[in-house]
């Protein structure tokens, strides 16, 4: 289903509106608490995911289906597909990694989400603690993240991370085969297809799968993806639009 277009006018002041609530301090209090309190390693890692890694409550049920992976010499990331089937990836913070070293991921994944809310009660009050946690976390994002990331985290303009295989290529600057193969995006035509769909979606030109196929064909013909391919693509899109397709 097509996502409704965001109201860009209201997004101009979203960050200030969140900052104005002044709730980030409560969340920072919770962060201090997670740092200082003595929990089991599993529980600490679990809380740390929300306190320091920017994991949202809605992400957790999808995130526990995948596992953290080392992405280069000193960084560990976890990637998952969210409810919109968008790939998400977070590089874990040192606080979380420290606890992860001494715990099993499966144990962390089994911790019920209510544990988080119970721990948050002293900072958010008892009334609808789930909602309070979410809004306090968002207020903290507003102070700690640049605008585009905030819009992604608030769900207004969600972004999609690169598939694991493409990200691995980006990091190593060479072609790397993803051994797990869970993305299934090694096929160049599929990568182009994803990119084209994203591009056409923003222009609302993605209604016709046949159009995408035609554009793919042009791209494959012109492997350099140079100016001529671009012109052909634009021409094809205009033609399809003029025919109401």
């Amino acid at each position: 289903m097509r996502r409704a277009k965001p109201n860009y006018e209201s997004l101009k002041s979203l960050r200030v509106a969140l900052i104005k609530q002044g709730r980030a301090e409560s969340f920072q209090g919770f962060q201090q608490y997670v740092l200082k309190a003595e929990f089991s390693h599993e529980k600490h890692a679990f809380l740390s995911l929300f306190a320091f890694d920017g994991i949202r409550v809605s992400d957790f049920e999808f995130l526990i289906k995948s596992e953290p992976r080392i992405i280069d010499s000193d960084r560990v990331a976890i990637s998952w597909k969210d409810h919109d089937q968008r790939t998400q990836r977070v590089i874990l913070s040192p606080m979380t990694l420290k606890s992860l070293e001494h715990s099993n991921w499966s144990d962390i994944a089994n911790i019920p989400i209510n544990v988080l809310f119970d721990e948050y009660v002293p900072f958010g009050g008892r009334r609808d603690i789930r909602h309070q946690f979410k809004s306090d976390q968002l207020a903290w994002f507003a102070e700690s993240c640049p605008g585009p990331i905030l819009l992604h985290l608030s769900g207004h303009v969600p972004m999609t991370a690169l598939p694991d295989s493409a990200y691995a290529r980006l990091l190593s600057a060479k072609v790397v085969t993803d051994s797990s193969g869970n993305d299934g995006t090694d096929d160049p035509s599929e990568v182009i297809s994803i990119a084209l769909s994203g591009f056409l979606e923003s222009r609302e030109d993605d209604k016709n799968p046949g159009l995408i196929d035609e554009l793919l064909r042009i791209c494959h013909q012109d492997t350099g993806l140079g100016r001529s391919a671009h012109k052909k693509c634009v021409r094809t899109v205009s033609y399809a639009r003029s025919k109401g397709r």
Partner: protein, 668 residues
């Protein structure tokens, strides 16, 4: 009024009877266009002086006015003014405006102000000239325009919204079109920079590379090609390179004067002997704060001429050309023997090249956005107010120029020439700011009341303490000259390291912006809070009755939506200007904005951070919107480090009020 002279029907009637038919017509036309005028006690002579002055200022920018309509109108105005002056002298009429004009007479009041003020900003005069000329020639003009001009006249120009600024720019364009003005080089340069800045779209304010600019490799390729051709003395290549640094379309760039041969009025020119481009900022960015002679010693030396170097190779080429040309050429076109019409090279898009310089400097050379725009004379990606506050040092311009020229393969910049920094004339010296705060502190300590002080002593101390607190807030938060100070008790939270301020409502909801609060200011506001707690307790004990004042004190304690700073006497609330009057040295009210802009530059803070703290933003490039990469916590860190250091160096620190030492807002 004098019955013997026939004043019975008011001054207008009196004048009408003595004017020639033409002048009568114009005066009637004025009344019909600008609305009825209650003539008793109004100075018609002053009104006409204002009108004459404004129309004259508008026509000055144009080489010739083609429209007879305008010329006739101008002559008519001059004649009417002359006749009215004669009548005023002949009958010894009173030259006063006896009452404050109501809003419905605003169109007349603008003329009164224009006629009465000694120094009116030239651009305000132009706007007024265009407005009244259009009105009197029966063209339709936006209803609000005279209000905008009024705002400019009473010094509220800082608070004009973007819509207002655009309306004013459009007004000039309309007048230009209606009266068929042929613009002078100086007028064209001013208009070019002004309109490009005012009408820049979002992509341009964001300095995005789009179809109107060249890609990095294409820009480098073209630059290399131009360099090679210029070295072969190709006049077109030299002209394009010059146009790209002058930031002008090619046909205007070739009309740029050579300052070695033309000494009279100029606003942009090339000094061939020294290899410099000189721009008079005062003429291009009008309305900058001027130095009062009495307080000029308080400010850093600054020039209004912005100087930047040519590439050295171009400097040498121009010297060669000027030596070989014995006709004393006045413009670049004459020196190069170049005419745009005959030298059009269709395969080279010089406009795209000229358009790309600022973006190339920002994206490829990683030059700070403000300096990049200065180098390219392309001010679409910055707010012009940056020019009101910044002093641009020659060293920074030369460094940035070297970086740019090296990157595009044009070698190095012409030899460095010593000189004043250009830009703001009212950047206060550190020692002066220090003196102001020391004086406030001394006064405060001399008034500190004993434990059994009377109500009067307590209130006097409170007022003095309020002035210190407000001054520190004005200074650290770089507040604009606003009335009242735009801070409420509810805005200040105990743990917060920032405060949200909207002191220029030009971008609707996005006008509210986060400003970093340094530790000194936070501690000072702690002390203010404790002071208010203590004042309530002591005044209650002494039976003080002023409910409004007690309510304001309580408002601070309860963090209500009441003014944060207030004195003990009506009207209680304080404005930036009223606080400014108490400073031992009369600095401009918004001196902190000039001061911090330059301190931040000295510390090498990127301009996007200084813009965020000083609340400079452009439509499409808002500081805190979804597309902005600014991070609040990062901003607070960057600003606080610099402010703490500067405040410590100047010995400015927080001071306790009535409460004892060790009290804290957070504890409270």
């Amino acid at each position: 009024m004098d019955d013997a002279n026939g004043f019975d029907f008011g001054l207008l009637d009196f004048l009408m009877r003595r004017l020639t038919a033409n002048s009568q017509d114009l005066l009637r036309l004025m009344v019909a266009t600008l609305g009825p005028l209650k003539s008793n006690g109004i100075n018609i002579k002053l009104i006409l002086a204002g009108l004459d002055r404004a129309v004259e200022a508008f026509s000055k920018n144009y080489e010739s006015i083609l429209s007879n309509e305008f010329l006739q109108l101008k002559i008519q105005i001059e004649e009417l003014y002359k006749e009215v002056k004669t009548i005023y002298v002949g009958f010894d009429l009173p030259e006063v405006t006896a009452y404050k004009l109501k809003k419905e007479f605003r169109k007349w009041e603008v003329l009164v102000l224009l006629g009465g003020e000694d120094e009116v900003n030239p651009s305000t005069l132009e706007f007024a000239g265009a407005y009244y000329a259009l009105c009197l020639a029966s063209y339709k003009v936006s209803q609000q325009v005279h209000d905008y001009i009024y705002q400019l006249l009473i010094g509220d120009g800082d608070f004009l919204s973007n819509t207002a600024e655009r309306s004013l720019a459009r007004l000039i364009q309309r007048a230009e079109k209606a009266f068929g003005g042929v613009i002078t080089y100086e007028g064209a340069v001013c208009s070019h920079f002004h309109y490009r800045n005012t009408f820049a779209d979002n992509k341009q304010t964001q300095a995005v590379r789009d179809w109107s600019t060249l890609s990095e490799p294409a820009f480098k390729h073209d630059a290399k090609e131009l360099y090679d051709k210029a070295n072969r003395l190709d006049s077109y290549a030299i002209a394009v390179i010059l146009a790209s640094i002058l930031g002008l379309p090619l046909h205007w760039a070739v009309q740029t004067p050579i300052l070695d041969n033309r000494l009279e009025n100029w606003i942009l020119g090339i000094d061939v002997a020294q290899g410099l481009i000189k721009l008079d900022i005062n003429s291009v960015f009008k309305g900058r704060a001027k130095v009062n002679e009495i307080t000029s010693e308080a400010y850093e030396n600054s020039s209004s001429i912005l100087v930047k170097p040519l590439p050295r190779f171009l400097h040498e080429l121009l010297i060669e050309l000027i030596k070989s040309n014995h006709n004393n050429p006045i413009t670049i076109g004459e020196l190069l023997n170049f005419d745009v019409g005959t030298n059009k090279q269709t395969n080279f898009n010089h406009s795209r090249f000229i358009n790309s310089v600022a973006k190339f400097s920002i994206h490829t050379c990683r030059i700070d956005r403000f300096l990049a725009c200065v180098l390219a004379n392309d001010y679409r990606s910055i707010t012009t107010s940056k020019f009101y506050y910044t002093r641009i040092s020659r060293e920074s311009v030369w460094n940035a120029s070297n970086k740019l020229f090296k990157e595009v393969g044009w070698g190095v910049a012409a030899a460095f020439v010593e000189g004043f920094s250009a830009g703001s004339m009212v950047v206060p010296k550190d020692s002066i700011v220090e003196e102001v705060f020391q004086d406030l502190l001394c006064k405060l300590e001399s008034l500190r009341p004993p434990n059994r002080a009377s109500i009067k002593n307590l209130l006097v101390f409170h007022d003095s303490f309020c002035r210190y607190n407000a001054s520190l807030a004005i200074f650290c938060l770089a507040l604009r000259n606003s009335n009242p100070i735009p801070l409420q008790s509810a805005d200040i939270r105990a743990e917060s390291r920032y405060v949200l301020i909207d002191d220029k409502h030009s971008h609707e909801e996005a006008s509210l912006q986060a400003v970093a609060m340094t530790n000194v200011l936070r501690s000072q506001l702690d002390c203010w809070y404790q002071h208010c707690v203590c004042m309530i307790s002591r005044l209650t004990k002494l039976g003080y009755q002023d409910k409004k004042f007690m309510g304001l004190l309580q408002g601070v304690v309860d963090r209500n939506k009441t003014p944060l700073f207030f004195v003990s006497k009506p009207s209680y609330e304080v404005s930036v200007a009223s606080i400014g009057k108490t400073w031992s040295i009369k600095l401009v009210e918004n001196f902190a904005r000039h001061f911090w802009q330059n301190k931040f530059n000295q510390f090498g803070l990127p301009s996007r951070f200084s813009s965020a703290h000083l609340r400079h933003q452009l439509s499409g490039c808002l500081n805190w919107d979804g597309a902005s990469d600014l991070v609040l916590s990062e901003l607070i860190k960057q600003i606080s480090v610099i402010q703490e250091k500067v405040l410590a160096e100047m010995g400015i620190h927080f001071v306790h009020g009535l409460a004892g030492k060790g009290s804290s807002y957070a504890k409270g």
